[in-house]
């Protein structure tokens, strides 16, 4: 396979042509915040808006999950513009996320905590008010795992596992705007859905929305 030479934060790297920048960086131990990225997806959803980087020749920060690497690409993962967007996106996500990490089953293994640690951000909505929305009660109907919508960041990792990997189709995205959510068809309990309790969705969840019981 064709390899290209690129520079990330001054480090010279070789990577397969066409590979998306995010994966090249992660493989070389260069951390870029991300929640929704799925390597196998032909068309990345690019919805979490956290994996911004600056690339020479581009005016604005771009999402690294959608950017194929090119020969002689010059990438910076930390610039004032990148940090600003990441901080805002992060604070926005936290403004709609139930934040009592101490009691969260994903405490210390949460992708949000990792982002905060790596980027020196506080685990707080910062400038924004917590939306404090009402969410449906935690669904523990399967007995095998729980689904807590108040901690969901809508990254789509679970939906991908369910629909693309095991091809069950128990869950999917529904509704629009602020009401967008992961749910079963017509919103029935997971136990009443085609869910096979394979737990792949639980494994895929980067935060504490899906966790084993």
């Amino acid at each position: 396979m064709n390899k290209v030479k690129l520079f990330i934060d001054g480090r010279e790297l070789l990577a397969p042509a066409g590979e998306k920048l995010l994966w090249v960086a992660l493989e070389n131990d260069i951390y870029i915040p991300h929640l929704c990225a799925i390597r196998e997806e032909q068309r990345p959803s690019a919805c979490c808006r956290l994996c911004f980087v600056e690339v020479e020749g581009r005016k604005r920060p771009v999402t690294s999950c959608t950017l194929p690497v090119r020969e002689k690409m010059m990438v910076k993962t930390r610039t004032p513009a990148v940090d600003r967007l990441v901080r805002t996106a992060f604070e926005l996500l936290l403004s709609d996320h139930r934040l009592n990490c101490g009691k969260c089953p994903k405490n210390r293994a949460c992708a949000l905590q990792r982002i905060a640690r790596e980027r020196g951000l506080k685990l707080k909505p910062g400038r924004f008010k917590a939306l404090g929305r009402e969410f449906p009660p935690i669904d523990e109907s399967t007995g095998a795992f729980a689904f807590d919508r108040s901690r969901c960041v809508l990254c789509g990792q679970c939906v991908h596992a369910d629909q693309q990997v095991v091809k069950v189709g128990a869950i999917g995205f529904s509704r629009r705007g602020l009401d967008r959510c992961v749910s079963t068809f017509t919103g029935v309990k997971l136990a009443d859905s085609p869910c096979t309790r394979c737990l792949l969705c639980v494994e895929a969840c980067p935060v504490g929305a899906l966790y084993p019981l």
């Binding site: 919805c47 808006r49 999402t63 600003r84 967007l85 403004s95 705007g177 602020l178 967008r180």
Partner: protein, 638 residues
């Protein structure tokens, strides 16, 4: 003269048939009723029936035909009477009484009732035509030229006015490359708002190796207050179909769709009729005009999401998926509908195409500015005296558009701002009025051309509320896919809401600005990418108004309910009148012991009824902001 090609010969036959069919129309008086949705809403159907009834009753021989929209919304319903021996005359605000007069005085007795006439459509010695009014001087109708003057449900009207002649000539004498070259030479820029050159877009599809290609017309017009696309589809659908056919020939597409929002049932109906008639005439389907070009069109009715006007979301929704936008690239030109190369253009963009090919790229470039040739169509609404649809050359200033074409502000009010480009556009102040309108200049000022909505705002409009209004629309229409748009617009809306309630802080303003800039820079698609524009432009041009809400708890435009109080001036109030008392839905207005009226602030819901009810000779009800002014007033009043 050169020999006609086969398709031109086929066209000539259609043309002769159409002319033969329409010739008898000139023998009898002809009454046109504007029955686009706007006309219907104003009562055009009643007017049509009244004419038919009155003609039958009086035994007058005349034809009643339906046309689309002429763009003069302020005067709807409109009727045009073309009586042999008289210039065609247009009458505005027609009602049943006027119908009787017109039938009696004009059709029976040759008195055209000039006192009720709006404008004459042909030059004559008695009554002015459009070009005698300021609006007519500034307007230059290209794609709206025939709108309102032909029957949109009869293809022969379009054919008789040179319709499909460009298609016949293209098929008979031009190669696809020549068509592309002509469109590129004309520098036709996409009228959906972004202004991307159509020729470049088409060429990107034409050069693909994949042979299955699609042409889609974006008629998912969703901006509040914008109705250009609907009006064109309802008034002259064949113009758009011909443009799509020419595009399909240029990019070698076999199939196309018109994506029309379901909220436009009449546009869908008229386009469907147009498609059927075009197929009957051999202008659509296989072997078009007898040649070897095959192309067919279908209608896709959009289910009503604003974001589906965005190309990738539109394609997703056509494929039966959730109408959510995708990251680009790949662009539609490489992977569009069903993964195939796709041209997606706005209704207006396609409407220019037949005219450019009929008259040439050089003709097109005579109008407008070098960077943005041609005309711009605006749907003017808000506080303007004469709202309506206007087509002006690119480069016309906002001042000319609002004060000449739109005849200034309604009710003699003071101009404050113009919101251009819909919820994705910006609010521009007085100082920006001399800006020549084109794609690039508006962008520099912080607004966008958008699809052409123009909302004029006056002194009574609070800019914070206006920003809140437009953002509320985009926040509601956000698909929720990406973080910035889903949560960013919500947080912005909450901050704006707090400011209108007098609960904002100056720090909130900074957060608002930062967040607006980040949502603009960080969103996945252009809905989020442009949603902050109303906020950013009002912050830029009307910062003092934001500060007044925060520091003085005062709404200078007296519009924010939480920052105003209603008060009855005792010196102006009359003991003889109690209109305000009766108008109050919550019994907050009461009669004092001395017979004057007053408002119980605890009960008042600020519905504005008492202010409207108070007779103009008293004008005793006033709004005060901040509400703390009440104490001062009441101290003095007692």
């Amino acid at each position: 003269m050169r020999n006609l090609s086969a398709s031109e010969t086929a066209y000539r036959r259609l043309r002769q048939q159409a002319e033969a069919k329409l010739a008898p129309l000139k023998d009898k008086p002809l009454i046109w009723i504007g029955t686009a949705t706007c006309g219907k809403a104003a009562g055009a159907i009643e007017v049509r029936e009244a004419f038919k009834e009155e003609l039958a009753k009086k035994g007058v021989e005349a034809r009643v035909l339906e046309a689309g929209c002429m763009g003069h919304c302020y005067a709807e319903p409109l009727a045009v009477i073309a009586k042999p021996g008289f210039p065609a005359i247009c009458y505005g605000k027609v009602d049943e009484g006027l119908v009787k007069r017109l039938v009696d005085d004009f059709l029976l007795h040759d008195d055209p009732c000039y006192e009720f006439a709006l404008v004459a459509l042909e030059t004559n010695d008695f009554f002015p035509t459009f070009s005698d009014f300021p609006r007519g001087v500034y307007e230059e109708k290209i794609i709206l030229e025939d709108c309102g003057f032909i029957d949109p449900e009869d293809i022969d009207h379009y054919i008789a006015r040179d319709g499909y002649v460009a298609l016949a000539e293209v098929l008979g004498t031009k190669t696809p490359q020549q068509v592309l070259a002509e469109i590129k030479a004309a520098n036709l820029r996409g009228r959906g708002g972004a202004g991307f050159p159509a020729g470049v877009k088409w060429e990107a599809v034409a050069v693909q190796t994949e042979k299955t290609r699609y042409v889609i017309c974006n008629a998912d017009e969703g901006d509040p207050g914008a109705f250009m696309d609907r009006s064109i589809l309802e008034s002259n659908p064949h113009l758009v179909l011909e443009g799509m056919l020419i595009c399909a020939y240029a990019v070698a597409a076999q199939r196309g769709y018109l994506y029309i929002r379901s909220e436009y049932p009449q546009a869908i109906r008229r386009v469907r009729t147009a498609l059927e008639q075009a197929r009957q005439r051999g202008l659509l389907g296989s072997s078009i005009l007898g040649g070897n070009f095959n192309f067919d069109l279908g209608i896709f009715a959009g289910a009503g999401a604003f974001v589906c006007g965005e190309g990738t979301a539109l394609v997703n929704s056509m494929e039966g998926k959730l109408g959510l936008p995708e990251h680009r690239p790949p662009r539609l030109s490489t992977a569009g509908l069903r993964g195939k190369p796709t041209v997606l253009n706005n209704v207006k963009t396609f409407a220019y195409v037949p005219l450019i090919l009929r008259r040439g790229a050089d003709w097109f470039k005579q109008t407008g500015t070098p960077g943005s040739p041609g005309t711009a169509v605006f749907a003017m609404a808000g506080k303007v005296a004469n709202p309506g649809l206007a087509e002006v050359p690119m480069g016309t200033t906002l001042r000319q558009l609002i004060f000449e074409v739109g005849q200034g502000l309604a009710g003699g009010k003071q101009f404050k701002a113009v919101q251009i480009g819909g919820p994705s556009g910006g609010c521009l102040p007085e100082a920006a009025l001399d800006l020549p309108i084109d794609f690039d200049s508006l962008q520099e000022a912080g607004a966008i051309m958008g699809s052409g909505g123009v909302v004029v705002l006056d002194e009574d409009d609070c800019m914070v509320r206006i920003a809140h209004y437009f953002l509320k629309f985009t926040q509601h229409e956000s698909c929720g896919k990406c973080t910035f748009c889903r949560l960013g617009t919500k947080q912005m809306l909450d901050i704006l809401g707090a400011i209108t309630r007098g609960e904002g802080t100056l720090a909130d303003l900074e957060t608002l600005r930062e967040l607006a800039e980040d949502v603009k820079a960080g969103s996945l698609c252009n809905l989020g990418g442009t949603a902050p524009n109303p906020v950013l432009t009002t912050l830029k041009y009307f910062y003092d108004e934001y500060r007044a809400h925060i520091e003085g708890k005062c709404c200078p435009a007296l519009m924010c309910p939480d920052l105003i109080a209603y008060y009855i001036e005792p010196l102006k109030c009359s003991k003889l009148c109690s209109a305000c008392v009766g108008s109050c839905p919550v019994e907050a207005v009461y009669t004092r012991e001395d017979g004057l009226k007053a408002i119980d602030q605890e009960k008042c819901v600020k519905c504005d009824n008492c202010l409207k009810a108070c007779p103009v000779e008293y004008n005793a009800v006033v709004k005060l902001s901040p509400p703390s002014l009440l104490q001062e007033k009441e101290g003095r009043g007692r």
